[in-house]
């Protein structure tokens, strides 16, 4: 969906003002740490995948997305997912009190402290067995399709309609657009090189290029 999360090329946000690397804490407040832990732990209940999590954050009102800090967006997304998966009712969210115990099937999946390091290290596999041959080879000229789906997509607005060159074929990977709907389908994934001139025209700064990972569905021959 065309929302506030798709930030590439936007103007007006001002300077970055980075904190010095050796002075920046991992979390700036205790609640950030708690939201981070809560979101990861809730994810392991198996009710949603990473693309559904991203889509939940993206579906906020654009004003809210931009107004929120990073972990506020995580929390907003988590609340949406918890209610949609019927793990928490809107009433429970409002009062902060559980109306009753969770289902047995959920209780059995609750992540235990001693399992955390192992499951985090393991991650969630996204590479899939090749089912179809890739349509494009390195060096092929391709255009990012000018499409504006209402659902989740990982084709940023700033590349749509632009022509680039296939830099590398990564293999077959879970296709986010379907994954956000709960369907695990593998599609060929490529790294595509776009010159800054192709993306930004006369306002391009120097002889630069942007490499974007794009699934075959996002591409057409050019």
């Amino acid at each position: 969906m065309n929302s506030a999360h798709d930030l590439g090329g936007m103007h007006g946000f001002g300077p970055i003002n980075p904190e010095p690397e050796n002075e920046e804490p991992v979390f700036h407040t205790d609640w950030e740490k708690r939201v981070f832990g809560l979101a990861l732990a809730a994810g392991f209940l198996g009710k949603w995948n990473i693309d559904m999590s991203r889509y939940a954050r993206e579906r906020q009102h654009p004003v809210d997305y931009l107004r929120h800090t990073y972990y506020e967006n995580w929390l907003a997304g988590l609340e949406k997912l918890l209610v949609e998966a019927e793990l928490v009712s809107p009433e429970e969210l409002k009062t902060g009190k559980a109306a009753g115990p969770a289902d047995e099937s959920i209780q059995q999946r609750v992540l235990q402290a001693e399992e955390v390091a192992e499951v985090i290290a393991k991650g969630s596999p996204v590479a899939m067995t090749n089912s179809t041959l890739p349509r494009y080879n390195s060096g092929d000229s391709v255009r990012a399709v000018n499409r504006h789906p209402m659902g989740h997509t990982r084709e940023p607005r700033y590349v749509r309609g632009r022509v680039g060159i296939i830099h590398e074929y990564h293999g077959t990977y879970v296709f986010p657009d379907r994954s956000a709907e709960g369907s695990k389908e593998g599609r060929p994934l490529y790294s595509v090189r776009f010159t800054s001139e192709a993306l930004w025209g006369e306002s391009a700064s120097g002889r630069n290029a942007v490499y974007v990972d794009l699934w075959e569905d996002y591409l057409e021959p050019a």
Binding site: G9, M10, P18, L199, S205, G206, R207, N208, L214
Partner: protein, 118 residues
Amino acid sequence: MKVVENTPTVHNLVVCTLCSCYPWPVLGLPPVWYKSAPYRARAVADPRGVLEEFGTDLADDVEIRVWDSTSEMRYLVLPERPEGTEGWSEADLTELVTRNAMIGVEKAKRPMNIGRNR
């Protein structure tokens, strides 16, 4: 994960314009600025301006390659080896490599930055 190498003519920079994708297993959680709207908006359109904000000046003929992490593939920058480090051990060289250098917003430190003569 892909490692992209800086050379005298190419400088690499990593961003995630759509969210905050970052090589957690290697670098830990990303800093606030990496997840911020100004960085995500500008890294792809004005990388030179972004680098200047981090105090990184590149010669005009250096090509900046920006890697937008739109898939689950993660990117890590291999900084250019600073001059005057010939014969240094891996442990010595490690002292010169910062997290920011591996995102690509800075170069590796130089020997003088850690109090060593060239």
